[in-house]
């Protein structure tokens, strides 16, 4: 990708028929930390790599609950992701108010895609710099969608986005044929292993990843750190020595960046409900 004379405005086509600004927006997604999603017939699992900038700061929240039956994991500009999550929550709750039933995931995803498209056709706007993995359940079963800044959306059996997501995708490509009939536990295990692939050699610990599940009879919720660590331990060969960092941190984190606190960190201290304190 090099700079050229057709990439200043989102409303300028290049002679080859490309909108460079939109493509640059998709680059922003590739720079964000990895997010992974996979689904079976009855469950969808989202996992993401959560690395804090420094030892002193908290993690960025990358997984958002949109409704009891829908959740989203983001990669890219997290601020854009938050705004879109707020839009999604608003749409779900309005639909519920009018129709007293759950907004079908497929419709929410189309609305989101149309919203993203608007930003690719207005000279005074810019595309959203965030990719969203939307996980949800509706009458027709469990679904996983990927929404990109271009306004396109695709349904997937399993997918990964963000930096070093190719390693996760390779793992998922090998295993995806079994996912439809996987049990909930196997699905989460596969998500964690895929996350480990994205870490490329670094040790997989519950402090660097966040996992969320939604399924038939199970509302969308983020798993707390202890549960995640236990699941990791079941398949990790070497048991990790490091104590889970949940204990010393909560007090400072709550003061420092209440908005930024992720479910994975606070979960251990908050209890074993499996819900993040930021869950709505």
């Amino acid at each position: 990708m090099f700079r050229n004379q057709y990439d200043t405005d989102v409303t300028t086509w290049s002679p080859a028929g490309r909108l460079f600004q939109v493509e640059y927006a998709m680059e922003a997604v590739k720079q964000g930390s990895a997010a992974i999603g996979l689904r079976s017939k009855t469950h969808v699992v989202l996992a993401c790599v959560n690395k804090a900038n420094s030892e002193l700061s908290s993690h960025q929240k990358k997984i958002f609950k949109v409704d009891n039956h829908i959740g989203v994991a983001i990669a890219g500009l997290t601020a854009d992701g938050r705004v879109l999550s707020r839009y999604m929550r608003s749409e779900c709750i309005n639909y519920n108010y009018t129709y007293e039933s759950l907004l079908p995931v497929g419709r929410l995803v189309v609305q989101l895609a149309d919203k993203a498209q608007v930003c690719t056709q207005r000279s005074w706007k810019r595309p959203y710099g965030v990719g969203l993995l939307v996980a949800g359940l509706d009458e027709s079963g469990a679904h996983l969608y990927y929404n990109c800044p271009s306004g396109n959306y695709f349904e997937y059996q399993a997918f990964a986005i963000g930096s070093r997501s190719q390693a996760a995708k390779t793992y998922l490509e090998r295993r995806f044929e079994n996912f439809m009939s996987s049990s909930r536990e196997d699905l989460i295990k596969d998500a964690l292993i895929a996350t480990r692939e994205s870490l490329q050699g670094e040790k997989l610990r519950s402090s660097v990843c966040t996992v969320a599940v939604v399924g038939v009879g199970e509302a969308f919720h983020i798993l707390d750190q202890e549960t995640v660590q236990q699941l990791i331990d079941t398949f990790e060969i070497v048991k990790e020595e490091e104590a889970p960092p949940a204990e010393p941190q909560p007090a400072t984190e709550q003061d420092a960046a209440a908005e930024q606190a992720s479910g994975a960190d606070q979960g251990g201290a908050a209890g074993d409900q499996g819900g993040s304190p930021m869950d709505i």
Partner: protein
């Protein structure tokens, strides 16, 4: 409330329909209403269809102002149209339509411009039967049997005694006819042209109108003033 144009909001109804009665039965919902449209105390219109199918899964029956019912049908037509335009395999079921109507009715009531109707919404989706009612002030509820207007006072007591889960179609129709007969005798705005419709998983069916047999040879009818000399 508008200061200019008091005539811009509904003050009283003009052409009205009388009761609607509906019950859940084994395969779905059965709904009955007569085909009368009264203009005050005159039974003016005698072929008014007061039960209409909505989308694939629901039936709507209305009593009250007929023009408002037609307006509601337009709203629902648009709703179902947009629902179909998504073309994604999802569809609005009876519960969703009922809730939508509740929002519309309550909203109009808050603006002091009500849709002067009592609506019965019944349907079946994915094997689940649903039957609800909503009226002009936004009161809504679901039940195994519902009725509007005088039907609440005359038909529902019969239904409370005789309704049970797993009524067959024949039993259901007989039960509804019993209710409609009482209404025909006792409701002055009832007309002897009844329409029964059913909705099941397969879809909606509107049966052709028919008349109920009535018996007027009761001795009390023959000499109605025998207990009150001088009255008429």
């Amino acid at each position: 409330m508008a200061t200019v144009g008091e005539t811009q909001r509904t003050l009283y109804p003009y052409v009205t329909g009388s009761s609607v009665v509906a019950i859940k039965y084994k395969d779905g919902i059965l709904m009955a209403a007569d085909m009368g449209g009264s203009y005050g105390s005159t039974l003016r219109y005698k072929s008014v269809e007061r039960i209409k199918p909505i989308g694939k899964h629901s039936l709507l029956g209305a009593s009250g102002e007929i023009s408002d019912f037609q307006e509601i049908l337009r709203y629902l037509d648009e709703l179902i149209l947009y629902d179909n335009m998504w073309d994604d395999g999802n569809s609005l079921g009876p519960k969703e339509v009922h809730n939508y109507l509740t929002r519309v009715m309550y909203n109009r009531r808050n603006k002091f411009n009500p849709l002067w109707n009592a609506l019965v919404l019944g349907g079946v989706k994915n094997g689940e039967k649903y039957l609800g009612m909503v009226n002009m002030i936004g009161i809504n509820f679901e039940d195994n049997h519902v009725a509007t207007g005088l039907g609440n006072h005359l038909a529902r007591p019969i239904l409370r005694e005789e309704w049970h889960e797993s009524l067959t179609f024949e039993e259901g129709v007989k039960l509804l006819e019993k209710c409609m007969r009482v209404l025909l005798y006792r409701d002055r705005s009832a007309v002897n042209k009844i329409q029964i419709s059913k909705i099941t998983e397969e879809g909606a069916t509107l049966f052709p109108p028919f008349s109920l047999k009535t018996y007027w040879e009761f001795s009390a009818f023959k000499n109605p003033t025998v207990g009150a000399e001088g009255s008429w």
